[in-house]
């Protein structure tokens, strides 16, 4: 009896302890860099003396600004292209593939398992040889899209799986062309899924080093500049850059979370839930 009581008393602290250990493991390095980026002694900010000096240095460095512009471009265009392609592929899979769905799906997500280095290398060779693309942004966007497409497909597919395609039937019976059906009925109901895929692809392409490295030639991006900067020691700009990128990523995720909580965005159309709510 006494033994059981002790076990029960320990249960809650044990749970909380495990949770804390997991969170510390995940976030301590990031917190350390974040603290460093706003401290006078950035390499050992204990105790911290707050200053924006590292960010000022980052702002002065035109190389980082060019790199930021390029990374944004890669991120946005890759995300747009992969979301669009993945949306088309998912609709094809769910509406027309029938019993072959799984076979097609495997081929669509196989690129996930190709090492990024290999993908970068093979894209470099192929794009140069057959598409006459030297190392440039466009070539990098194409290669990143190969990688992001599979993620986008998985995200969109989990959402569209619940979409009731008979709503499209209804629209067509009532006189809508297939294109009009898509824009009037399908898109307004599935856009949150597409938006989620876009955000994830943006973050992945924005942060990508391995694929972009092979295809960009001399064009700088944030990850490649940061990697190159290592050779000259870890400069304060890198602290600012790392925490800056992390803040942006967490902000984007935070916005998504708020949108979901307030119901402004529901990921995936759930007619069954709406009906059961009556």
């Amino acid at each position: 009896m006494a033994k059981g009581n002790i076990a029960r008393k320990l249960q809650k602290p044990a749970l909380i302890g495990t949770m804390l250990i997991c969170y510390l493991f995940l976030y301590l390095p990031i917190l350390h860099i974040g603290l460093g980026s706003v401290s006078k002694n950035y390499s050992f900010p204990y105790p911290p003396q707050l200053t924006w000096a590292t960010f000022e240095k980052l702002a002065e460095n035109t190389l980082y600004q060019t790199a930021l512009g390029n990374s944004l471009l890669i991120g946005v265009l890759t995300a747009l292209l992969s979301t669009l392609l993945a949306c088309l592929a998912t609709m094809g899979l769910l509406r027309h593939a029938g019993r072959h769905t799984v076979k097609f799906l495997i081929l669509f997500i196989a690129p996930l398992f190709v090492a990024e280095v290999l993908l970068g290398l093979s894209s470099l060779i192929f794009n140069g040889l057959f598409l006459q693309l030297g190392g440039n942004l466009f070539s990098a966007i194409l290669a990143n899209t190969v990688h992001c497409f599979s993620y986008a497909l998985l995200i969109i597919a989990t959402q569209l799986y619940r979409y009731d395609w008979r709503l499209d039937d209804a629209a067509m019976v009532f006189g809508a062309t297939p294109l009009r059906t898509f824009f009037e009925v399908t898109l307004p109901l599935i856009w949150p899924g597409l938006f989620g895929a876009f955000i994830v692809c943006f973050i992945m392409a924005f942060n990508n080093l391995e694929i972009s490295f092979y295809l960009l030639g001399a064009t700088p991006t944030l990850p490649s500049v940061a990697w190159g900067a290592l050779r000259y020691g870890i400069k304060p700009e890198l602290y600012a850059l790392a925490s800056g990128v992390n803040v942006v990523v967490f902000l984007v995720l935070g916005v998504m979370f708020v949108l979901m909580r307030t119901g402004a965005v529901r990921f995936g159309h759930k007619p069954e839930r709406e009906r059961s709510a009556i």
């Binding site: 009731d164 008979r166 709503l167 039937d169 209804a170 629209a171 067509m172 019976v173 009532f174 006189g175 809508a176 062309t177 297939p178 009009r180 009037e184 009925v185 307004p188 109901l189 159309h269 007619p271 709406e274 009906r275 709510a277 009556i278």
Partner: protein, 362 residues
């Protein structure tokens, strides 16, 4: 005829979901496609809508061959079992959808929508979203969306299946009323014989992808053409046996020691295996010792099920054969345990061969 289906077949992989269906429907007709689930009735409706392309055959609407036309060019409308209202649009916007697709001027559109809201008593709900409506209200909006564009034909796919019984009976009357008012054909898919019988002018009984019979509802009920219809429409006692004697006017079959006489022979010869059906309400009850008519059978009342205006007597013969008689509840009927004689006229026995050759492709 206003709508004509000519030799419609639909093959999925190697299965014929619909097999050579021919139907002609007049402009003012209310037609039901009645059949069990998986019989192909919904597929047939989707072929008329253009949502499925038939493997063989032609669909004609108002004299025009629409077989190759996509759904949005057919001028049809449909009411779905799951309602399928657009969840991101209000009631008014849902009703406006077909009209917008027709590029109707705004003033006329508003007039039409108000008309639909009026006849379906949906006034005051036009700003609501579908998930803020009850099932019955959603169903009425779905019906309104089907009627508002004055389609050439309204296709209804089990529209009442998701409603409770009371609401369903109310809607049956309403739907029939709109059909007569608008004077357009309604094609109504259902697995519920009561729905089909209460609303339709004619009923097509669909079984295994083919139409067993397409006839006036009274004909279908009183003179079922096939064993399937006899079993599916109405409630009947079913006997299986061998034909012992048959001439032009009558036929006798032996069903497990029970001898049944039927008028007409259903094309059967002595020795053929046959099904015999007697509708529950055709079985009359008489006191013990009664002899007469063509078929009489001494039984015991095992149970009485009260159905309101009538009662169902579950009977059992001394051989253990079960039998049901439906009688109107006038005066005192026999009670449980009583010995009675069940009897019926030979004209009320419908005979069919056990293995009819439907000539279907399998």
């Amino acid at each position: 005829m206003y709508i004509s289906l000519q030799g419609i077949s639909k093959q999925y992989a190697s299965v014929w979901a619909i097999d050579r269906v021919n139907m002609a429907i007049a402009k003012q007709e209310f037609v039901s496609l009645l059949g069990p689930s998986g019989s192909g009735k919904t597929t047939l409706l989707r072929v008329i809508a253009g949502l499925e392309k038939p493997t063989e055959g032609r669909v004609l609407i108002d004299g025009q061959d629409v077989t190759e036309l996509p759904p949005h060019k057919r001028g049809v409308a449909m009411v779905f079992q799951e309602f399928l209202l657009f969840p991101h649009r209000t009631v008014r916007e849902n009703l406006a959808f077909p009209l917008r697709m027709m590029k109707m001027p705004k003033a006329e559109m508003d007039e039409r929508i108000d008309w639909a809201l009026g006849i379906l008593s949906l006034q005051g709900l036009d700003g609501r979203y579908p998930n803020q409506l009850s099932g019955g209200q959603q169903q009425r909006v779905a019906l309104g969306r089907g009627l508002v564009g004055r389609p050439k034909v309204l296709l209804l796919d089990e529209p009442l299946a998701n409603l409770d019984r009371e609401l369903r009976q109310e809607m049956e009357v309403e739907i029939r009323r709109y059909q007569m008012k608008l004077g357009i054909p309604f094609i109504y898919v259902t697995h519920n014989q009561e729905e089909a019988l209460s609303m339709s002018d004619r009923i097509a009984v669909v079984n295994k992808g083919h139409v067993e019979d397409f006839a006036e509802r009274t004909t279908l009920y009183d003179k079922p053409k096939t064993a399937f219809i006899a079993q599916f429409v109405g409630r009947s006692n079913k006997f299986e046996g061998k034909v012992t004697a048959a001439d032009g006017g009558s036929c006798t079959i032996d069903a497990g020691g029970l001898s049944l006489t039927a008028s007409g022979n259903g094309g059967l010869k002595p020795g053929d295996a046959a099904f015999a059906f007697v509708k529950n309400e055709k079985v009359a009850l008489a006191p013990e010792g009664f002899v007469g008519e063509d078929n009489s059978l001494p039984c015991t009342v095992r149970d009485v099920i009260l159905r309101g205006a009538y009662a169902e007597y579950l009977l059992e013969t001394s051989d253990g054969l079960g039998l049901v008689a439906s009688r109107p509840r006038s005066g005192e009927g026999p009670s449980i345990g009583h010995a009675v004689v069940a009897h019926w006229a030979s004209g009320d026995v419908d005979l069919y061969p056990v293995k009819p050759d439907l000539g279907l492709r399998r």
